[in-house]
Amino acid sequence: MSKKPTILIYLLILLSLVLGACATPTPAPTEPAAPVATEAPAEPVATEAPTEPPAAATEAPLAPTAGDKRIILATTTSTEDSGLLEVILPDFTAQTGIEVDVVAVGTGQALQLGVDGNADVLLVHARAREDEFMTNGDGVRREEVMYNDFVIVGPASDPAGIKGMTDAAAALKKLADSSATFISRGDDSGTHTKEKSVWKAAGIEEPSGDWYVSAGQGMGDVLNMANEQQAYTLADRATYLALVKEGLDLVVLVEGDKVLFNPYGVIAVNPEKNAAIQNDLANQFIDWIISVPTQELIGTFGVADFGAPLFIPNSELYNASKPAAAAALKVTGKVTTEMAWTEEEVKAMETMDVEAPNSKGVEETYTGVAINALLALAGLDPAATTVTLIANDGFSKDVPLADLQACASCILSFRSNGGFSSVMPGFDKSFGVKGVVEIVVK
């Protein structure tokens, strides 16, 4: 008889277990699932204090009102995990008094949060899906923010032998051919989306087999898993570098391929979705994040720790503010194919060193690309007679084609602060044109 209460207790425990099991799998689609990282209101005040000591005192009473303005930023784990947001967001709160509640999830969920109207603004990196999001009317404004790059990492022993390859797709193909274990995020994140596009480029629609491990976890988890299994994976550089500091053994094997660049966009969610969406605050956020000072802050993030920026600023405003940042070089006129190169592309060509007097008449060594080589790449029209060098300030100088062709050591040298100058040994010094942007063949 005395056992009845005991059974009741067991049943209660049982019930709680069932309810416990029930609570775990039920997401609440009407609310953001993840807890939000809230900036302490005191922090922006503290950062301002050194520049404007009295401001700290006057701003302090404003703190309670500042707390009234909040927006929800749904973003990918990479921005949160790398520590970027922690560094830049206090500046936003200090400027606008708006608190930002960060929900760091996969890009898929971040976009879904937008679709469901559960976030005010998104900071994500999956270009195609962002475009789809905009087309569907889920977002009202989209701006470029920055980009980072992906790297293919793997064990130092590199059993598949992909080290140093510059074509990411070819590298993945090689991994597939040698059945080297590759760990995929497999979570529909931006990184996963990128990985799938590279596989596609490699001609592999759906990688499968024992060697292909779809982990369904975050970047850090996947890197650790790859480390444990001495496997390959595609990782964003920021997370990779952060984990290397924690003792990750993997090394970068493939980098620099254009397809591995990863642009981040910021999107204001359509306020018609939900009355609680604060479009004006979202716009303030976008205006702030694409502004030149914020972009410059982004560009310096990580430099101190890793020796290189983790994110490259890429907003239109920022790019416009850079004087001829993309100092391109063109070859036009009487050529078989008109050519246009970026500075990097030119620098990647075969270079040569020449001795020539500088503007003060002192001999100096210049490094650059032979002008004849550039002309050869474009292909000269037989009717061509003259070459005009055009500078970025509009200045131009004509050179007889025959004279130029006779000069093997005439080059476009690389200027220390970007751009090219013509170095023409044996010619008058007036032929030394600074800031050449175009070569017109006549």
């Binding site: 799998p25 997401p27 879904q112 976890q217 898993m225």
Partner: protein, 220 residues
Amino acid sequence: MIAEFNEIVLLSLQVTGIALFFSTLIGIPVGVAMGMARFPGRKLVVALLYTGMGFPPVVVGLFVYLLLSRSGPLGSLGLSWMAQLFTPGAMIIAQTVISFPLVAGFTMAAVMGVDPAVRQQVMALGATSRQAALTILSEARIGVIVSIIAGFGGIISEVGAVMLVGGNIEGRTRVLTTAIVLETRKGNFDLALALGGVLLGITFIANLAMLRLQGKSFDR
């Protein structure tokens, strides 16, 4: 899609089933012994057992992870028979460790809840010590069944440890809970809910089945 879905459900049941088998195999005798025996240091063992019952599963996951990690004490031995990280074996180890204290603890409580005079009566009827222990276990069976359900519920719905040591690998270590986390993260709430429904259903059916099973012994 359906095939993957079934695979996840099946793996969940397999991993949890095997883990529960081991924890029951060890946990029930330990629970019975703890519930009946009086020996020096018993209080300490009971305290440890209760601590184990409330031990955060994710910490168990962490320990198993570190243990099996390539650089860990077991992983570095390179034993071929030892379960490796990111395999169902590792998940089974973690789930066994998590469910063992639940099974042993609840069994102990159930056995202690049996009137001590029952043992005396059973001995007086000519039982050996073993028979007496089995009879008391049978008397405590509702509690023992609850202990198994508690162990089952504790691990089938556990996500942290299996995520850590299993790695949520598609087709290999992805179970219901980790799949739910993943699908929620992807924004696939429909699929996440469906998986959640299956998990709920499994827990419910398991409870029903076990309660029915114990009812049977009365009607035999």
